[in-house]
């Protein structure tokens, strides 16, 4: 099957901010030319490493984010590099530019030159804080952006005095911003391209804190973090419980239908652990709310006698929105992901051979969004991209 976006050509200037957006294009079949500085992309030096090989060719960070891309080293500080870069842009649909504000222009690649090279180009500039403004020159990181964005202050422990707010792992600030860059670029193409998009990681993160803004705007109060569950204004019952196998279960009771409640109570009752939850008074919403802590404790005692997987599948069979708290390695043999072809094999050539990669989560009917090729070695496609050996 053909790639969903196989008609597109994207030029990506390497950088930690643009790599996720570039991967979203590349896995959809777009040709993505990764322009690396002499010496290679910074993230070729990021851990984790492939089986302990701490060299620039073995970064799993780089491998993950650059599947399907082509690599060319271009020295944009030099005239030949700039000329090759502009030639590349002339045939591209999108430029993913993760340089600092004014960074490209300082190298002599001005917006005038770029627009002269290709008037239909969608130039996506993805910076930490935007092109202009009082903090435009500031530096970010995944942690710094999740702090300023408000994610961290909603995540942590209220049963542990003076404990810090906690960030989410896996480069999520980059994912939030990079996904928006992908959306913005595709939207611009619908209108014929030919635009400059100013997108900041800070804006993207700041707009993703669920109900915190309405709560503040309507009630004047600020949500605070709660162990294992949503930040909230007032204390809420625990919904994360430890199972018999030491793993945890997310057992959130929101919008529980009468049918789901009956299923839950009869399930507990089968094991003699329903306690007083069989009392029909719990069908009264006010009672359900008033007794939320007690209900949570009864469920916690039940979960403690089962494995996390038993609770996960038993609860879902009863129309409850529970899940086991899986560790990343649990996904490797997860039957659902296997049935949906989440994991794929990519050929790395010698000596690595064929290796198991994560595919994409996009499932389409008439086209395909999935990685097909390992990340490029440094300058693997450089000669062709620079036009060496050709008339150019």
């Amino acid at each position: 099957m053909t790639g969903t976006l196989e008609h597109l050509t994207v030029v990506e200037l390497t950088g930690p901010r643009t790599e996720w957006c570039g991967k979203l294009f590349a896995q959809a079949g777009a040709r993505v030319a990764l322009v690396e500085p002499p010496g290679g992309a910074e993230t070729r030096g990021y851990a984790p490493w492939f089986r302990g090989r701490e060299d620039a060719g073995s970064s799993l960070h780089f491998w993950h984010y650059h599947t399907d891309k082509e690599s060319a080293v271009l020295d944009l500080a030099g005239e030949a590099g700039r000329a090759a870069f502009l030639r590349l842009l002339a045939e591209a649909d999108v430029l993913l530019d993760g340089s600092e504000p004014g960074g490209l222009a300082a190298l002599g690649v001005t917006r005038d030159l770029i627009e002269a090279a290709n008037g239909r180009l969608v130039h996506v500039a993805l910076t930490p804080f935007g092109q202009e403004g009082p903090m435009a020159s500031w530096k970010g990181s995944d942690l710094v952006h999740q702090a300023l964005g408000g994610q961290m202050m909603m995540n942590g422990y209220d049963d542990m005095p003076a404990s810090p707010p906690i960030n989410g792992q896996g480069n999520q600030a980059g994912h939030m911003a990079g996904s928006w860059a992908f959306i913005a670029a595709l939207a611009a193409l619908q209108a014929g391209g030919g635009t400059f998009i100013d997108l900041s990681v800070h804006d993207a993160c700041a707009g993703m804190t669920e109900n915190a803004l309405p709560q503040y705007d309507y009630t004047g109060t600020v949500v605070t973090r709660r162990t294992g569950r949503h930040a909230s204004i007032a204390p809420t019952p625990a919904w994360q419980h430890r199972a018999a196998d030491g793993r945890y279960v997310n057992a959130q009771l929101v919008n529980v239908s009468p049918r789901a409640w009956e299923g839950l109570v009869s399930w507990l009752d089968e094991h003699g652990m329903a306690e007083d939850l069989t009392d029909p008074r719990y069908f009264v919403p006010e009672i359900f709310r008033e007794e939320a802590d007690h209900i949570s404790e009864v469920i916690g005692r039940f979960v403690a006698t089962k494995t996390a997987d038993e609770v996960f599948h038993g609860a879902q069979a009863r129309a409850l929105i529970f899940s086991a708290v899986l560790n990343p390695e649990d996904l490797l043999d997860d039957p659902h992901l296997a049935a949906r072809d989440f994991w794929i094999e990519l050929d790395h050539g010698e000596p690595e051979g064929t290796l198991r990669h994560a595919g994409s989560a996009f499932v389409a009917e008439h086209s395909e969004v999935r990685p097909r090729r390992r990340a490029p070695r440094l300058d693997e496609h450089g000669a062709a991209i620079r036009g060496e050996g050709a008339d150019a």
Partner: protein, 420 residues
């Protein structure tokens, strides 16, 4: 060229909650016309309409602040999808729409005769998104999911927290936001492919699977190295930054995040914090050297921040080129973040029922185009008459009859909107 980039794109919107309706919100901020099909009772009720916070603390269909946040600039068409006549009207709308998006449980749209196969028979090049918790196929296809479910299943929850403690929990429905973002991305991929080929497309999106795909390099670490990834608090999971932590500052629950990778950042951190002794130790100039002494470095920085105002410390560090950011609450973002104010991330819209309220704008500026929150959220049924008259040519007589038969509804007066 002052409109949005998606001007002219029309979406028939059966999405609900944040993970679904958040995706059509994104399209609305880019200029698409969104026709929300909804009804005050199940099955076409969006329960988010009843969620708090509420204007004046009083619940009502048009009084919910969270619903309003997620449904800015959409149009509301009230059709009772439990009736055959209602389903017929929805089918009549399909030829007029570029995109159909839905987030019901798998099987609902098929039972209504509105699944992709039925829709493409009415409009061959339609882009159709089915968004659910675990997708339309696979052993967990019938499983239910909200944000925390998807986060727990995907490994995002397990990897966020303090070492040796239970997972911190993320604290909000990250995967509702990112589910919405990925669903909007899917629709746009479909539109882009249609632009190139003229063909339609169907996307089967599972919120939980999108969570798995967002684990980043952890995915290859477990698959190729056999690693067991466990939380390390705020330290970088793979040691690419050190120091990298949240440090307590003066005042109540005040924290500053600091990340250092480059030698010059480390030197600047030492200079600003007065750690001349650390700056002089050659082994700490490298990342590997600092990782070997991370506890001691964290203790030194923490002792410095503990005596300082978080914002002053942030400004001093950033002025010297050190990545640093205060852990902000929503109040901090609205009132004390000069960059968000400069960028205009928060915009104010008025609505006669809700009053003047704050809305998060799209984080995108696109030269030559208008991108952003287009207007307030619709009262339930506010656009029923206009849409059915303009797109389907329904006469006033037909509209009155359908309303009398409770097939459609509207909310054309403020009094009706207040009461709903």
């Amino acid at each position: 060229m002052s409109g949005g980039p998606l001007d002219g794109v029309r979406v028939l919107d059966f999405t609900r909650h944040l993970a679904g309706a958040g995706s059509t919100r994104i399209l609305a901020t880019l200029g698409a016309e969104i026709l929300r099909i909804e009804w005050p009772h199940p099955p076409a009720l969006d329960f988010l309409r009843l969620s708090g916070p509420h204007a004046d603390g009083r619940p009502g269909m048009n009084r919910g602040g969270f619903f309003a946040q997620i449904n800015v600039g959409k149009r509301s068409v009230a059709i009772d999808m439990a009736t055959d006549a209602g389903k017929d009207i929805a089918r009549e709308l399909i030829p007029h729409c570029d995109v159909i998006a839905e987030s019901f449980s798998p099987g609902v749209m098929k039972r209504w005769g509105l699944d992709y196969e039925a829709a493409r028979a009415l409009r061959a090049d339609v882009i159709y998104l089915s968004a659910s918790g675990f997708g339309q196929t696979g052993p967990y296809a019938g499983y239910r999911s909200v944000g925390p479910t998807a986060q727990a299943y995907s490994g995002l929850t397990a990897t966020s927290g303090l070492p040796e403690r239970e997972p911190a929990g993320w604290g909000f429905s990250y995967m509702d936001h990112m589910g919405a973002v990925m669903n909007a991305a899917a629709i746009l991929m479909g539109l882009e492919r249609r632009r190139a080929t003229g063909e339609g497309e169907f996307f089967d999106a599972g919120q939980s699977q999108h969570g798995c795909a967002l684990l980043g390099p952890m995915l290859l670490d477990v698959s190729l190295n056999g690693s067991r990834v466990r939380p390390k608090g705020n330290r970088d999971l793979y040691g690419n930054f050190c120091p990298n932590n949240a440090y307590r500052c003066r005042g109540e629950d005040s924290w500053l995040a600091i990340s250092v990778r480059e030698p010059e950042e480390w030197a600047a951190l030492c200079a600003v914090t007065g750690a001349d002794d650390l700056a002089g130790r050659a082994e700490l100039a490298t990342l590997a050297g600092r990782l070997a002494h991370e506890d001691a470095i964290d203790a030194r920085i923490g002792a410095w921040t503990r005596e300082r105002d978080a914002r002053a410390a942030m400004a001093a560090l950033q002025a010297a080129g050190v990545p640093a950011g205060v852990a902000q609450t929503v109040e901090d973002k609205v009132r004390r973040d000069p960059q968000l104010t400069f960028r205009g991330l928060y915009t104010t819209l008025g609505d006669p029922v809700l009053g003047e309220r704050l809305y998060e704008d799209a984080p995108v500026r696109m030269e030559g185009f208008t991108v952003g929150v287009p207007g307030p959220s619709p009262w339930l049924g506010a656009d029923t008459r206009d849409v059915l008259r303009d797109l389907l040519g329904y006469s006033d007589e037909t509209l009155e009859r359908l309303k009398a038969e409770a097939i459609i509804d509207d909310a054309i007066t403020l009094e009706e909107a207040q009461r709903a």
